[in-house]
């Protein structure tokens, strides 16, 4: 009996018990579709996080102040101190001190109410220097960004994010309009191109003004010389570690700190943000894929169960086939092929359902689902293997049946 004959026999057996075969296949199908979808969701989430972090700017280091400790010993949160100054930023921008740093953008940020005509909108007002645009990897959709002259003269000019412009004016065509921030009127001289969100922060809901203007008119007191964040752009991806070292050494020296562990500032880089975010989504993916794998295992046990039922039900058929000259190995092969076919069918339909789900799901839950070819072909292979593995026991039982016992049964 050829493999082709055996395959035909297995297909006939599946066709004879359509309902039973379909339900068995369903168990595998759900498992495979679940694996493909969860892996797709996980990869999609990781890609999204990576894209978001890259949207912050390329080759970026973010320097934040350390924490303050009040007289009562209560420690303020990360970034609560005001230890970074514009002088720090100026020093880092020096090509002599830090050759691996391409650009530096000191910035302050505060939540302010913006008024334009009858409408008002509260948003994050960022005071920064002209290099912010390139350091944060932003582009303009209209008008011009802040200039060195604006910074030098502390000009009352503002650049709006797309969302902010839309909220205030109902349009993004707002160059030349006037917006009032903290009682001072500013002329809108440009609009930022949309860049999406980073985590919960909408990068398009912002207003950017010159740092000098922000220090003089928006914030007050000690904030006149300090900055909240210094964004540093390294010359290349490879230069990030040395840029980090240069910034760290220079700031330690400027702040007169000899013990590096007592630094009054923190430098974070994109890579660490990506790693943190990715590890969270990876944990979630592993967890979900684990649940999916368990459902696949249950599907496999379903295959074994049905094959055992099938062997018991077809005990006379097995006896007859043996009487007519089928060797035990051939009977085993027949049932193994049948079990593998159940697994493979479940795998193929499951993959189709998973792919369809990956196309439909993003429109329902707004999470991206990335289809991974290794996951699809891997899970089809796993489905086949599950059929095979869980078919071994029932097939061996069939092969070992004594022909007389099998023929005698009713």
């Amino acid at each position: 009996m050829t493999w082709f004959d055996t395959l035909r026999t297995a297909l006939e057996a599946m066709g004879t018990h359509r309902m039973r075969s379909a339900l068995t296949v369903l168990g595998i199908l759900i498992g495979i579709a679940a694996v493909i979808l969860t892996v797709g969701l996980g990869i999609g989430a990781q890609q999204q996080v990576t894209a978001q972090v890259e949207a912050l700017g390329t080759n970026l280091l973010i320097i934040s102040p350390g924490s303050t400790t009040s007289t009562t010993g209560l420690r303020g949160g990360f970034g609560s101190a005001s230890t970074l100054t514009q002088a720090d930023a100026a020093a880092l921008a020096s090509a002599v001190v830090a050759p691996d740093i391409a650009a530096v953008a000191p910035s302050t940020s505060s939540s302010q109410s913006l008024v334009a005509g009858a409408s008002n909108w509260t948003t994050s007002v960022v005071g920064t220097t002209p290099s912010w645009l390139s350091v944060r990897a932003r582009t303009m959709s209209a008008g011009t960004f802040l200039t060195a002259a604006d910074q030098a003269s502390a000009a009352s000019v503002a650049v709006l994010g797309a969302t902010t412009a839309q909220e205030l004016f109902g349009s993004t065509d707002v160059v030349g309009q006037t917006v009032t921030i903290a009682g001072t009127p500013y002329t809108v001289q440009g609009v930022l191109a949309p860049s999406g969100s980073t985590g919960s922060t909408n990068n398009d809901d912002t207003a950017v003004i010159p740092l000098s203007t922000a220090q003089q008119r928006v914030s007050g007191g000690s904030s006149r010389t300090t900055v909240q964040t210094i964004y540093v752009q390294a010359t290349s991806q490879a230069a990030l570690p040395s840029a980090y070292q240069e910034a760290n050494n220079e700031l330690l020296a400027l702040h007169g700190i000899t013990n590096a562990t007592a630094a009054d500032f923190t430098i974070t880089n994109q890579a660490s943000l990506v790693t943190t975010a990715a590890s969270v989504s990876k944990t979630l993916t592993v967890l979900l894929a684990g649940v999916a794998a368990i459902s696949l295992l249950v599907g496999g046990i379903g295959v074994m169960n049905i094959m055992l039922v099938s062997v018991t039900e077809r005990i006379r058929e097995i006896g007859l086939r043996k009487a007519l000259g089928a060797r035990p190995a051939l009977i085993r092969r027949q049932f193994l092929i049948e079990a593998s076919l159940l697994g493979l069918t479940g795998g193929l339909i499951g993959a189709a359902v998973g792919i369809a789900g990956a196309k439909i799901l993003p429109s329902l839950i707004s999470n991206p689902v990335a289809l991974s070819m290794p996951a699809i072909f891997g899970s089809i292979t796993v489905a086949l293997a599950i059929g095979l593995v869980f078919g071994v026991y029932p097939a061996s039982r069939a092969a070992q049946l004594a022909p007389i016992d099998a023929l005698r049964s009713e």
């Binding site: 009996m1 050829t2 004959d5 006939e12 057996a13 066709g15 004879t16 006379r316 058929e317 006896g319 007859l320 086939r321 043996k322 009487a323 007519l324 000259g325 089928a326 060797r327 035990p328 190995a329 051939l330 004594a402 022909p403 007389i404 023929l407």
Partner: protein, 250 residues
């Protein structure tokens, strides 16, 4: 079709088709030993038509299993078509069954999902015959049993007598040395019984060797020779006519 009428060339007097010598079969059920056969010796020559009779528990089913190579004897020797099958491996026994024995069962044992010709062709598939030749030979065998117009029917679409004739065709298709029928008329009405028994007569006339297990007297009467079993021993072995004349009850 001619091949089925003439059958294999008989080798008169040289070698029996089957030869049992002092065959015993002991079944062990826990600590209990049950001797189903207690020393059976039997020779069947080519072209013979032998009926094996006996009441329930006489060991005739066990004898049928051993003759059919479905089971092996506990002691004694069994030669089928010249081959010693008493100590063969399971695989070799499967090959011997495929090659040398054509089974006809009481329950017909046709596969319901397969057409008549596929059922008949099944032993050929296990013998490794190609699909086209299988179909050709299966259709010829079905023609031989008068079912040439039923090759594409499934067992469910055939009467009991027709199903048993399909089973006979399946037993013929490999041209085995021995046709072994186990209560072939047990599930048939009298008309179909006559039909099937006529078929066995024809096979016998064509020179085939037939061993038929039965408990029915009139079925045994059609055979040329009747072997009676009781309590695992052969109690009588005589031409069928003599048994009927002597009025020995089953």
């Amino acid at each position: 079709m001619a091949a089925y009428l003439t059958g294999p060339t008989p080798i008169h007097g040289t070698r029996p088709v089957l030869s049992l010598r002092e065959v015993t079969k002991v079944y062990r059920n826990g600590s209990l030993e049950v001797a189903a056969l207690r020393g059976v010796s039997l020779d069947v020559q080519p072209g013979e038509y032998v009926a094996v009779m006996g009441p329930s528990g006489s060991g005739k089913s066990t004898l049928m299993h051993i003759i059919g190579c479905l089971d092996v004897p506990s002691a004694g020797s069994y030669h089928l078509a010249g081959e010693d099958v008493s100590a063969m491996s399971e695989n070799d026994l499967a090959d011997v069954r495929n090659r040398s024995i054509g089974f006809v069962f009481q329950q017909f044992n046709l596969l319901a999902s397969m057409t008549a010709w596929s059922n008949v062709a099944l032993p050929l598939a296990y013998a490794g015959v190609g699909r086209a030749l299988r179909r050709e030979r299966a259709e010829a065998a079905l023609g031989r049993v008068g079912l040439a117009d039923r090759v594409g029917h499934r067992p469910g679409e055939l009467s009991g007598g027709q199903q048993q004739r399909v089973a006979v065709a399946r037993a013929l298709v490999t041209e085995p040395a021995l046709i072994l029928a186990d209560e072939p008329t047990g599930n048939l009405d009298s008309t179909s019984t006559a039909d099937v028994l006529d078929l066995f007569d024809e096979l016998h006339d064509a020179g085939r060797t037939v061993v038929l297990i039965t408990h029915e007297h009139d079925v045994a009467a059609r055979a040329g020779r009747v072997v009676r079993l009781r309590d695992g021993l052969v109690t009588d072995d005589s031409p069928a006519g003599a048994v009927v004349a002597a009025g020995v009850r089953p």
